[in-house]
């Protein structure tokens, strides 16, 4: 809370993240877009993305990082080799990319050309809007998914990572993190009960400034008289 970067999605993927930062795509989603997609699942059920087999530690590190926790704090928490957090995140995102649904979302292409019928349109609309599936998946829906994945329009783009009809990716859960520090500061400087609580906390922390680590970028409030003007 003392650091102004907390709950602000990083603007770029880390340099050390070269092997996975593009997700195998020519135009990778930004950390903010990914944060809105995975910090909280788009629907209540945990099986929306169908992620399989990933390390819990990697998930925790990736979520901390997407949630704006400074890298130095993550490294301190892990208390091990310097680059370990990167390899943990790489392993986690490598597992995520194996989910076809996640890859489709990350690709960010218009799926309409691969929609030959109503069922396909329905399942895609639900998936890309993050709607919960009521009841079990029917055989028709399962077949429609398989045909959709096998469609040359989709399979080509997923393999090459080039999107033919770019669209804006769905922000499933906007509001979990701020997209930039400026957006956060805009909220912080507003009048409100939460802001007042935060101000008091920061003031309390500032009274123990000797505890502040060097890497921390302290969150600062404008002075009251400036606010009053």
């Amino acid at each position: 809370m003392w650091d102004e970067r907390l709950f602000v999605a990083p603007s770029e993927w880390p340099e050390e993240f070269s092997s996975i930062k593009s997700f195998g795509l020519k135009e990778a989603p930004s950390p903010y877009e990914v944060a809105c997609a995975i910090l909280v699942a788009p629907e209540v059920g945990s099986r929306f993305w169908g992620f399989k087999k990933f390390e819990g530690e990697g998930k925790a590190v990736a979520h901390w990082w997407l949630g704006g926790m400074p890298v130095e704090a993550i490294q301190k928490l892990l208390g091990q080799k310097k680059g370990r957090w990167v390899s943990l995140m790489e392993n986690y995102f490598s597992a995520l990319v194996k989910s076809r649904k996640f890859k489709l979302w990350a690709l960010g292409t218009n799926p309409v050309p691969a929609c030959p019928n109503r069922i396909t349109a329905q399942i895609l609309q639900r998936a890309l809007q993050g709607e919960a599936r009521r009841g079990n998946v029917t055989r028709g829906e399962r077949n429609a998914w398989e045909r959709f994945w096998a469609h040359p329009y989709i399979s080509t783009q997923i393999k090459t990572g080039v999107r033919r009809c770019p669209i804006e990716r769905t922000l499933y859960r906007p509001g979990l993190v701020w997209p930039s520090v400026e957006d956060k500061l805009e909220w912080v400087y507003k009048d409100g009960g939460n802001q007042e609580e935060l101000r008091k906390t920061i003031e309390w922390l500032e009274s123990r400034v000797y505890k502040r680590p060097k890497w921390l970028v302290p969150l600062k409030f404008p002075k009251q008289d400036i606010l009053a003007l």
């Binding site: 218009n110 799926p111 309409v112 050309p113 691969a114 929609c115 030959p116 109503r118 349109a121 329905q122 895609l124 609309q125 890309l128 809007q129 469609h151 040359p152 329009y153 033919r164 009809c165 770019p166 669209i167 804006e168």
Partner: protein
């Protein structure tokens, strides 16, 4: 006597499609030739082609297996046409709206028809006199 149209004739007749009749039929060969000419340029051409295919299938001029293959081919052409038309339309395209339109799901709230409850007139309070009158009237009615 059947008048068989060639693929080129069929294409030229697209603006003024003949009404389906025994005299004007498009044979499977003509349809195949049409498919091979590569002149299906937009979704309207594809619609016409699909209609002709359906007609030919119903007239049993093409087999079901061939029809299935043709359908897959037509879907591929549809994808190409759609891809070409959408690749330059920008990121702001409302693809969810397109999917909703295709899926036929109505996201709008269903209108609620408000029905007013039937008005019930308050029952008049009965006095002793009314009770007497009621009994007398009942007796008169039953000829007692």
């Amino acid at each position: 006597m059947k008048k068989n149209l060639t693929a080129e004739e069929f294409l030229f007749s697209n603006n003024d499609l003949p009404a389906p009749s025994d005299d004007h039929q498009v044979t499977a060969e003509a349809i195949l030739a049409l498919a091979q000419t590569g002149k299906l340029r937009d979704s309207n051409d594809l619609k016409d082609f699909s209609a002709e295919m359906m007609g030919a299938l119903l007239r049993k001029e093409v087999t079901v297996g061939a029809s299935r293959e043709m359908r897959q081919w037509a879907e591929l052409i549809y994808s190409l046409i759609q891809t070409e038309s959408m690749s330059n339309s920008g990121k702001e395209i409302n693809f969810i709206g397109q999917l909703v339109q295709m899926s036929g799901v109505n996201l709008e709230e269903k209108p609620v028809i408000e029905v007013e409850p039937q008005k019930q007139l308050p029952e008049p309070e009965l006095g002793v006199e009314d009770l007497f009158t009621e009994i007398v009237e009942h007796k008169i009615a039953t000829n007692e």
